[in-house]
């Protein structure tokens, strides 16, 4: 059985999207992406280094023809900054599928939902296909979907915190209410967290720090691949009900 998922009409097998920040070097980054099995990688858009233009480029190590680059707007605190960044990203890469995040404050990196919604509306009018980082609020998620977000990406915990999925109830509510893919974006710390997100019915998980800051990022990338697959299979299989007390697995009849 092939279990694919689609976003904005594009079909993928891997449900793990990985970031490309915080790695020791491009070699480690490329090896981790390979081990993760990801087909989509997030990337940032930044000024070229004019004082040292000969530096190696991300595109030389992670091939944009092999992986779908998902440009993000990390570091943008207004709709205007985010839109400006994505217009440049579209010109640099030539594609419309983007990750929108408009942050509210540096301390929590929580999204500013008023600006996020406004940016979503403008980007959609300009032909972008925004996958949107957002709060774990089912109403906000619905409003984003109505505005044209092609995927809803609520946080499971603050960006880079590694605290795991702190909001199972609201993530589940968003999954139930959404007609576009839902991906947990931010908060995963270790493999079991990714499984939790998938068991809640999410279509995928996006992570960066959990892999990049592991002692062995390449091994953790593989762990995340398996955890996402395991969580997805468990969701499809349908978990058993929970009981308050024990229920023996061996038959009671025929005891000696």
């Amino acid at each position: 059985m092939e279990d694919r998922w689609e976003v904005a009409g594009r079909s993928f097998t891997s449900r793990l999207i990985v970031g490309t920040g915080k790695y020791k070097d491009f070699e480690q980054n490329a090896a981790a992406v390979e081990a993760s099995g990801a087909e989509i990688v997030t990337v940032a858009v930044r000024r070229v280094n004019i004082s040292d233009p000969g530096q190696p480029l991300l595109t030389d190590h992670i091939d944009p023809k092999r992986y779908t680059y998902l440009p993000n707007t990390a570091g943008c605190f207004t709709a205007e900054d985010a839109i400006r960044t994505l217009r440049l990203a579209r010109e640099a890469g030539g594609w419309d599928l983007v990750k929108l995040e408009v942050l509210g404050e540096a301390k929590t990196l929580y999204p500013d939902m008023r600006e996020t919604l406004r940016a979503t509306e403008i980007l959609v009018r300009e032909g972008f296909l925004p996958m949107v980082y957002c709060v774990d609020d089912p109403i906000a998620a619905r409003q984003l979907e109505e505005a044209g977000a092609v995927a809803i990406m609520p946080l499971g915990a603050p960006i880079g915190s590694g605290l795991g999925i702190q909001n199972r109830v609201t993530i589940r509510l968003i999954v139930e209410g959404a007609n576009v893919p839902v991906l947990v974006d931010a908060g995963v710390g270790t493999a079991s967290d990714a499984s939790v997100a998938m068991e809640l019915g999410c279509d995928g998980v996006l992570m960066n720090t959990a892999i990049a800051e592991a002692k062995d990022p390449i091994l953790m990338a593989r762990a995340m691949k398996l955890a996402v697959e395991g969580g997805r299979l468990a969701y499809l299989a349908g978990r058993m009900g929970q009981r308050r007390y024990a229920d023996p697995s061996s038959p009671l009849a025929g005891l000696i």
Binding site: A44, V45, I50, L57, A89, A92, I159, G160
Partner: protein, 72 residues
């Protein structure tokens, strides 16, 4: 433009003087950049990559030249 035939521009926030008559693609190459690997904004307007070899740098232009880097 001042008398010596150079233009005063800003690239990624830094002031520069360049000679007159350059296209944006020429400017990128002079900066050591591969024009096909960057995106250029000129005075807050995107310059389509297909026109980088045609649009001329003018005195007072402000450029942002960006590329993809690692990010989450």
């Amino acid at each position: 433009m001042i008398q010596d035939g150079t233009l005063s521009i800003r690239v990624n926030g830094e002031h520069r003087r360049v000679r007159d008559g350059l296209t944006i693609a020429d400017l990128a190459l002079e900066l050591g950049l591969e024009p096909t690997k960057v995106a250029v904004e000129r005075n807050l307007e995107i310059v389509p990559r297909s026109t980088l070899g045609e649009v001329r740098v003018e005195d007072g232009d402000e450029f942002e030249i960006v590329t993809f880097v690692g990010g989450g």
